[in-house]
Symmetry: C2
Subunit: 359 residues, 2 copies
C-alpha cells in the first residue's frame, strides 16, 4: 500500500490535518512547519489518494468518452481534442467503445455512474432520443450530432446543411442524376435528408431507387451497397455519401464495375478524414474540424459540470467544402458554361478548390 497522510504526519511530527493544509494550500501555516511537511512528503514520495479525496468531495475528476468505434478515424481526432482540454483541467478520460451497440452503450453508462464519473460525452450515440434525455437528467452530459432538442447540452455537426451543400456542389457541376449512399443509423438520417433537399431545391427529381443505405458506415458495407446502386441505376453520374469511408467504398465499387472516378462517376464524401486526401483520386469532401470539436465538447462539459442541474445549450461546428479530384470535370453539359472549362482541365482539381462556395 502506498504512503498516506498519516505517514507524512508522523514523519514531520505534525497532525494529519496540517499535512492536508499544506497539500491543499489552505489555512495558515508557519513557513517552518510547511517546510518540514514538504520534505517529509518528498522523502516518502507521498501522493494524495484520489479515491479517498473523491469520496469526500463527491467529484472524481474523471469523465467518460463514449464512441461507437475507435477504429473509425473520425473519433480519435475528437478524442484527442477532448483529452487535451481535460488534461488542462486535471480531468482524466475513460475510453468507452460501444461497437455500435446501444445495449453496450447503456451498460457503460450504468457502470460509469457507479464509478462516480463527473460527466459523460457521447459521440454518435446509438440510443434513441428518449433514452438520451433520461441519461441527461441523471448525469452531466454532452452529446454530439443529433437533433437540437434533448433538454441536454449538444454540439451538432451541420449534417443536413453539409450534405445539402456538397450535393448542391455536384448539381452546380452539372450533374442531374445524383445517387446517394447513406447510413441508416446515427447522423445518417439527417445527412441523407440534406441530400434530398439539395435535389428538391435545385429542381432535380428525387428518385428513392438511387438512394441506398449501409448499416455501419464502413468501407466494405458501402462497397456492396454502392455496387447494388450502380447496377440498378447505372444512369447515375454522381454519388454523395454519408461519409468519407463510405465514399471510398463507393470508389472501390466503381473500380469493380469499370466506372472511372471522376470521369464516369463523381464521388463526394463527408468528414475529411486523413484518408480522404490520400486515396486516388483525392476525395472532395466536407471538412469537419474534429480536434476542435473535441475541445468544444470538453469545454462545454466543464460548464455543464459547473452548473448543477439541467444545462441546455446547443452549439454547432461548421463544416467546409474541400474540393479535390473525385468530382473533377463533368462531361459536356449544356446547362453550365463552367463545365466546359472544367473539362479541359481534366481531373486536375475540383473547381471548388479555387473558389469555395459560400454556405
Amino acid at each position: 500500500m502506498s504512503t498516506t497522510m498519516r505517514d507524512v504526519a508522523l514523519r514531520a511530527g505534525v497532525s494529519i490535518n496540517t499535512v492536508s493544509r499544506v497539500v491543499n494550500n489552505y489555512g495558515e501555516i508557519t513557513e517552518a512547519t510547511r517546510q518540514r511537511v514538504m520534505t517529509a512528503i518528498s522523502e516518502l514520495h507521498f501522493r494524495p489518494n484520489t479515491l479517498a479525496r473523491s469520496l469526500v468531495s463527491g467529484k472524481s475528476l474523471s469523465v467518460a468518452l463514449i464512441i461507437p468505434q475507435i477504429t473509425d478515424p473520425f473519433f480519435p481526432d475528437v478524442a484527442l481534442g477532448i483529452e487535451s482540454i481535460a488534461r488542462q483541467h486535471g480531468y482524466s478520460v475513460f475510453q468507452c467503445n460501444t461497437e455500435d451497440n446501444a445495449q453496450q452503450e447503456m451498460g457503460y453508462i450504468d457502470a460509469l455512474a457507479a464509478k462516480q464519473i463527473d460527466g459523460i460525452i457521447i459521440c454518435g450515440s446509438r440510443m434513441d432520443t428518449e433514452q438520451l434525455s433520461k441519461v441527461s437528467a441523471l448525469h452531466p452530459l454532452v452529446i454530439v450530432g443529433r437533433s437540437p432538442q434533448h433538454n441536454a447540452a449538444v454540439i451538432s455537426i451541420c449534417h443536413e446543411s453539409g450534405l445539402f451543400e456538397i450535393t448542391s456542389h455536384l448539381i452546380r457541376l452539372g450533374h442531374r442524376v445524383v445517387g446517394h449512399v447513406g447510413c441508416s443509423v446515427g447522423s445518417g438520417v439527417e445527412r441523407t435528408e440534406g441530400y434530398r433537399r439539395a435535389l428538391r431545391e435545385h429542381d432535380v427529381a428525387v428518385d428513392e431507387r438511387r438512394v441506398v443505405f449501409t448499416s455501419r458506415g464502413a468501407i466494405d458495407d458501402a462497397r456492396e451497397a454502392a455496387r447494388r446502386l450502380l447496377i440498378q441505376s447505372p444512369e447515375v453520374t454522381a454519388v454523395s455519401c454519408f461519409n468519407d469511408l463510405v465514399a471510398i467504398g463507393v470508389m472501390q465499387a466503381c473500380a469493380d464495375l469499370g466506372r472511372r472516378v471522376p470521369d464516369d462517376v463523381a464521388v463526394v464524401g463527408f468528414d475529411d478524414i486523413a484518408l480522404a486526401s490520400l486515396v486516388t483520386p483525392a476525395l472532395t469532401t466536407m471538412h469537419v474540424p474534429r480536434f476542435h470539436l473535441g475541445e468544444m465538447l470538453m469545454d462545454l462539459l466543464l460548464r455543464v459540470i459547473a452548473d448543477e442541474g439541467i444545462h441546455e445549450e446547443h452549439l454547432y461546428v461548421e463544416s467546409e467544402l474541400r474540393g479535390r479530384d473525385s468530382c473533377g470535370a463533368r462531361r459536356s453539359v449544356a446547362w453550365s458554361p463552367a463545365a466546359r472549362e472544367n473539362k479541359e482541365r481534366k481531373s486536375n482539381g475540383d473547381p471548388a478548390a479555387a473558389a469555395p462556395l459560400e454556405p
Copy 2:
C-alpha cells in the same frame, strides 16, 4: 448525491451490513430478507459506489493505456483489443495520449498512481529503459515493443526480424540499391537494424547515405525525409520504411519527384494499417495483428496484477508479409529469373501475394 446502502438499509428495514451481504452474495441470509433488500435496491436504483468500494479493497478496477498518438491508426486497433478484454473482466480503461512527449508520459504515470490505477499498459513508450524499469517496479506494468530485458512484462512486435524479412523480400525481387526511411524514436531503432542485417546477410552493401530518419513516423516528415533521400541518392530502386505512414510519405515524395511506384521505386511499409490497402498502388507491408496484440496485452496485465511483485514475462506477436502492388515488377535483372516473369505482369500484384515467403 446518489442513493447509498444506508438508504437501502433504511427502506428494507435491515442493517447496512445485510445490504452489503446481498449485493456481494456473501454470508447467509434468509430468502425473505434477501428479497426485501433486492426490491429496495431496485426501487431506489441503488448502485454501489465504486470509489468507496475501491478505497477499502485497494483495487480500482481501472487500468491506463498510454500511447503516443491516438491519431496514428496503429493504436486504435490495439486500444480496442485492450478494452474488449478489460470489459470482460470488469475493468475500465483510462485513455492517455502523450503526444510523443516523454515528459507528459511521466506526468500521466504520476497522476495515474494517485488515482490508484491497478495497472498500466504502455505502447510505444518515449521513456528510456531505466525509467521504464522504475515504473515497472512501482506499478503492475505491461509494455510493448522494446528490447527484452526491463525486468518487466513485455510483448514485442518482431521489429527487427520483420524489417529483415521485408527488406529481404525486396532483395529477392532483384533490388540491389535499397534505401531506408526510419524513425529515430521508439521501435525505429530495431526496425532499421533489421534493414541493415538484411542487406548484410544478402551481401548487399550497406551505405548509410541511403538511410534517413524521421522524428515522429508521420506522413509529412517522411515525405520530406524521402525527398532528401531520393535527391541525394537517386540510384535507389527500392525503399523499406519504418511503417506504413512513412511509406505513404515516401510514395508522395516519389510522386513529387516524378518517380513512379513501383516501376521506378519499390516501396514497402510496416504494420498494415487500413490505409495500406487503400492507397494507390496498394502497399506491400508486414501485417501486425493489432487487435490481437491488444487482447494479449490486457490478458498479460491481468496476470501481472494477479501476481503481486515483479512479473517478468516476454511474449512476441508475429508479423506476416502482405504482398500488394507497391513493389510489383522489377526491371530486368540478370540475377533473378523470376524478375523477368514479373515484368510481364507489370504492377498487377506482388509475387509475394501468390507465394508468401517463409520466415
